[in-house]
Symmetry: C2
Subunit: 358 residues, 2 copies
């Protein structure tokens, strides 16, 4: 029996009961809203957890990178959305190979260039792929601008060989999209082009997706949750399943305690101006203030006089700012459950799709 | 012959001629200053590059984590400084194993707790280890406070079995340390305890280390260099050896172009308020403004009217904010040299010590 507290540090650990609770809760809410659930695996990158999501009722999964999709296809997943413009010969080769082996792959595009590249590759490989048109919901990172541009691209796709126009997507779902989706559907109805899917996304944005008129919802971070999700009001601290187990290695600088993980363990994602960059379960008044690569510095200034103070050698569970970034820094995650009041490691998983940047 | 421009993206690529130039230049400067060179391998994490550093004249290497030291010891490195408080039974077991196999390992400590732990482990394993005392140079992440505290810990170490007191270290070297080191040396001279090493550190801080009275200097980032080093005035853009080769995947949002790498490819380290978070070699007026996990958004607003604009499918070399964080996100680095005007891949290396967080 491996106790979590006996793990060497830093180690990424997840409470499996909390994970299962998060899966059940989102699925129940999406069922009630009448939205299909297509969770984003970027947060965990582990096929076993993806299967739990499917078993609970998800219709398929979302992968941001082709390399992630390959890992999950190898593990038997057969309905994968890649909401990302895939460009270039090596990726076309890999994408069509995925389709030819029987995986239902849908890809989002926002340009004729990208759509044509996929269509030509699919035709050459004698296979077919579904395409969604991405419309920018205001983030200005991808997506055509508005319903008219969406319609224009949809019509081109409808004329291309070897690809089918399946519908639209955006990230994240935002109230303004209600009008955009209504207009886009209306335009395509007049064109006689069916819209099977409108895919919305974002942890905590499922009600917005519903109000927008989406058919499905993608969310990733809900699975482990993190300080960002907590700050957004979309989970409680108890619903944060992932923590990094660390050890205090220094208390030599008055007012601070240093743990053995920094930005190469936690990332510098979502750094907060107030310095609250990690929640310490054992000391709620202590917070992860700043990081260098391998040092994490806890600020002790809010500890009451006479309150117990962190000591060198003590182990602490820290909730990170951003679970998805943290996952991507760890080769392994330890899943545990409480038994007789102690956290016992149940599974040690490789993070299979970690680092799949291509 | 593999051309860099034919690599799939995103890919971390390094110009080997520039790397070699950076190695030579720092070594020559340290030779002239009369400082031993003990480069930090955190930037590259690749034994072959560490051997280039040794061959140029380095006396040994610096590893921040035991796991990095193990990778380099496996590759034959036999003089390793770990400037980090190592705590806990699993690490003591691994540390003494390294020492028993004949690697000269020196570890920095800043508390009696940590020093005693190492001494007891070394004694139990029938081996010996060298210790440096870390004194805080103002970063408040580790290190005892000032020369008197440094002396007190040095005296305790001198009395412990199975460890030898070797001297002091700090990070980074700062002008204020000149007085601290002078006082510490003086105090220990009076105690009859020899100070063999005073180790300073920081890319660009070698002259400060010299002025401080250090015997050796540790620097890491000089090897690849990055935008942070450039901003600090410690390299030119041409001396930045590492770039991430990316592909433009979207220009759908006016004023922006999006590449296929974000914070999981570049990190969010050292984010700049002005949004200059990546330098685009092909378009000096275009800059990496913001990232989500897999999208990097380039701001085009400074492009002159009528200037060529980035197109979907085009490949761009981007210098990251922080080379060391970037290295840690990539399983592989491609080393290239220019031949007949084209960048040709010479070596494809696994980043052997990537992710060695323990």
């Amino acid at each position: 029996m491996q106790r979590v507290m006996d793990l060497d540090t830093p180690s990424m650990v997840v409470d499996l009961d909390v994970v299962e609770g998060n899966i059940r809760r989102l699925q129940a809410e999406l069922d009630e809203l009448g939205l299909k659930n297509r969770p984003h695996i970027k947060t965990h990158k582990i096929p076993t957890i993806g299967r739990w999501q499917l078993k609970a009722g998800a219709v398929g999964i979302t992968c941001q990178k082709l390399g992630e999709a390959e890992v999950f296809a190898d593990a038997g997943f057969d309905d994968i959305l890649i909401p990302y413009n895939l460009v270039g010969a090596p990726k076309m080769e890999r994408l069509t190979r995925l389709a030819r082996r029987g995986v239902k792959v849908t890809v989002a595009v926002d340009s004729e260039y990208t759509a044509r590249g996929i269509a030509e590759a699919a035709q050459a490989a004698d296979t077919t792929l579904g395409l969604l048109v991405e419309i920018d919901s205001g983030g200005h990172r991808a997506g055509v601008q508005g319903a008219q541009e969406g319609r224009a691209l949809a019509r081109k796709i409808a004329d291309f060989p070897s690809v089918s126009f399946e519908g639209f997507m955006c990230y994240p779902s935002r109230p303004e999209m209600t009008e955009v989706w209504a207009e886009a559907k209306d335009l395509l109805y007049r064109d006689g082009i069916p819209v099977n899917t409108i895919s919305g996304g974002g942890t905590g944005a499922q009600k917005v997706s519903k109000a927008n008129g989406c058919t499905e919802h993608r969310s990733g971070t809900y699975l482990y949750a993190d300080l960002n999700v907590y700050r957004g009001g979309n989970c409680t601290l108890d619903q944060c399943a992932m923590t990094v187990l660390t050890t205090i290695v220094s208390t030599a600088s008055p007012g601070f305690a240093t743990v053995d993980g920094g930005s190469k363990t936690f990332t510098n994602d979502a750094l907060q101006k107030d310095g609250m960059n990690g929640y310490v379960r054992e000391y709620p008044d202590v917070y992860l203030e700043r990081m260098s690569e391998e040092h994490g510095v806890l600020n002790l200034s809010k500890l009451a006089d006479g309150a117990p103070r962190p000591k060198v050698g003590e182990k602490l569970h820290i909730i990170p700012n951003h679970a998805c970034g943290t996952t991507n820094l760890h080769d392994v995650v330890y899943g545990y459950r409480k038994r007789n009041g102690e956290d016992i490691v149940e599974w040690e998983w490789p993070v299979h799709a970690r680092g799949k940047i291509r």
